[in-house]
Symmetry: none
Subunit: 215 residues, 2 copies
DNA sequence: CTTGACTCAGAACACATGTTCGTGTATAAT
DNA sequence: ATTATACACGAACATGTGTTCTGAGTCAAG
C-alpha cells in the first residue's frame, strides 16, 4: 500500500480515466478504450501500465476477462463507503409549472450519484434541475440540482416545494403552519414571507438537499 | 413503477445472478457466464432475455460492448460505483476572516463523501462550512458547505473566494478581470457587482461546488 | 562505453464475447 | 386450421479484447 514514488503522469491519467469511465458507464473500460483516452496507440503499453498499477495495489485485474479490472479500495482518495445511490434527474423545474415526474422515464444518463452518508433515506427521492432564476429567493439559482422526497405533507421548518393553486406557481419555501394560514418563508432572510390559505397550497415534496456545480 | 406482468422465473434468476456477480466482481458478467449460471446453453437465449429485461427497464445495455450492461436505478440497493472520495471539512468560514486551513488537522469525523463523478478533480480540494448569512449575495446561506480548490489565480467566470485586503473581508463572487480593475459579480443576478483594485484582492481558491443539506 | 532497469510502439495471435439466423415448441387468439 | 406471440435451441459469424513477441528509446549505475 505504501507507494513512495509518485505515479507516472501516464498512470495518473489512466487512473483518472478509469475513475471517470466507471462513473459514467458503471463498467470498466477495455484496454483499447483506455489507450485511446490517454493517447497510447499500443495495447501492450496500456497493459504494461495496468500491470504496474496492479503491482502498486491501485487496482486488481481478472486474467483473460474483458474489462476485468476494478479499482482497489485503498487507492488514494478512494475510501470504501457505505454505498452509493443513484438518483434519477426527473426533469427541469421552473416556477411556472407544477412538478411533474415522468414515472416511466428512466434516462440512465441523467442521474446523480450521492454517497449514502449524505442522504440517509432514499425512498421516493428524486432530483430536479432548476431552470431559470425564479427561485433566487430560496437561495437556489439557475442550474442548481434540488434533491427532494415526494410527499404531500410537511412539518414546520421543512423546506418544501409548494404548488400555489391560485398563482399557478411552484415555489421553494420554508413551511410553517399557523392557526389560520400557512406561512411560506423564503430562505433568504432579507425577504418577507408570504401567507396563503391552506386550501390553496399543494405540497409537492420536501427538499432534502441543494447542490450547485460550478464549471 | 410499470411492471404489469411478473418476471419470468428465468429472468428473475438472471437478475439475481447479475446482482450477485456485480457484488462479487464489481464488473458485469458476460452473456455466457449468465447462461452457465442460470442453466442456459445458448447465448442467444440469454441475449433474448436480456433484451426483454432491458425493455422492461430493469437494466440497460451497450451495444457490441462486452459486459456492457448495468442494472437500472430501479432498486436502490447499493451498487458498486466509480469510487468515493473523502474531503475534509477544514473549518468554518465567515465573512470577517481570511480562509485558514489547518493543514495538519485532519479530523476524520468532519469530512464529506462525494462520488467521483461529481467531482472529477480532487487535488488541493477542501470543504468549508459557511457560518452566518454574510454570503447571501453569493446564493450561499448559513450552514452551506462550499467545496473549493486552493489556488491563487482565477479565470474570468470562475467563482472564487476572494480576500479583500482593504475591507478585511472574505467574499464569494464571480471573478472578471477588466482593464484596470477587477469586477466581482454576485451570483444573485439582482445585485450589483463591486469593483476593486487588483492589488487589493487575494484569490484564496475557486469554488467547485456548493452543497446544502436540509434537516 | 556497456549494462540493465524502465518505458514505449507496433503487430500478430488466440480466444472471449456479442450478434444473427434458421428452426422448433408451446399457448392463445382469430 | 391458421396466425400471432412469447420463448427456446444450436450453430455460425464478426469482432471486441487480453496476451505475447520483437524491437527500440531513455537514463542512471558500473
Amino acid at each position: 500500500m505504501a507507494s513512495r514514488k509518485p505515479l507516472s503522469l501516464r498512470q495518473e491519467g489512466i487512473m483518472d480515466f478509469i475513475r471517470k469511465y466507471l462513473g459514467e458507464n458503471r463498467f470498466p473500460p477495455s484496454i483499447r478504450e483506455i489507450g485511446k483516452a490517454v493517447g497510447i496507440s499500443s495495447t501492450s503499453v496500456v497493459n504494461y501500465n495496468l500491470r504496474r498499477l496492479e503491482e502498486r495495489g491501485y487496482l486488481s485485474r481478472e486474467k483473460e476477462v474483458s474489462r476485468g479490472l476494478r479499482l482497489s479500495a485503498n487507492a488514494p482518495d478512494l475510501v470504501p463507503s457505505g454505498g452509493v445511490l443513484r438518483i434519477p434527474i426527473a426533469g427541469p423545474i421552473a416556477a411556472g409549472e407544477p412538478i411533474d415526474i415522468g414515472e416511466g422515464v428512466f434516462d440512465e444518463e441523467d442521474a446523480i450519484e450521492l454517497t449514502h452518508d449524505l442522504l440517509p433515506q432514499h425512498d421516493n427521492v428524486y432530483a430536479l434541475q432548476v431552470r431559470g432564476d425564479s427561485m433566487i429567493d430560496a437561495m437556489v439559482s439557475d442550474g442548481d440540482i434540488v434533491i427532494m422526497r415526494q410527499q404531500h405533507e410537511a412539518r414546520n421548518g421543512d423546506m418544501v416545494a409548494a404548488w400555489l393553486t391560485d398563482r399557478d406557481e411552484t415555489t421553494l419555501k420554508y413551511f410553517f403552519k399557523e392557526p389560520d394560514r400557512i406561512r411560506l418563508q423564503p430562505a433568504n432572510p432579507t425577504m418577507d414571507p408570504i401567507y396563503v390559505d391552506p386550501a390553496a397550497v399543494q405540497i409537492q415534496g420536501k427538499v432534502l438537499m441543494v447542490l450547485r456545480r460550478l464549471s
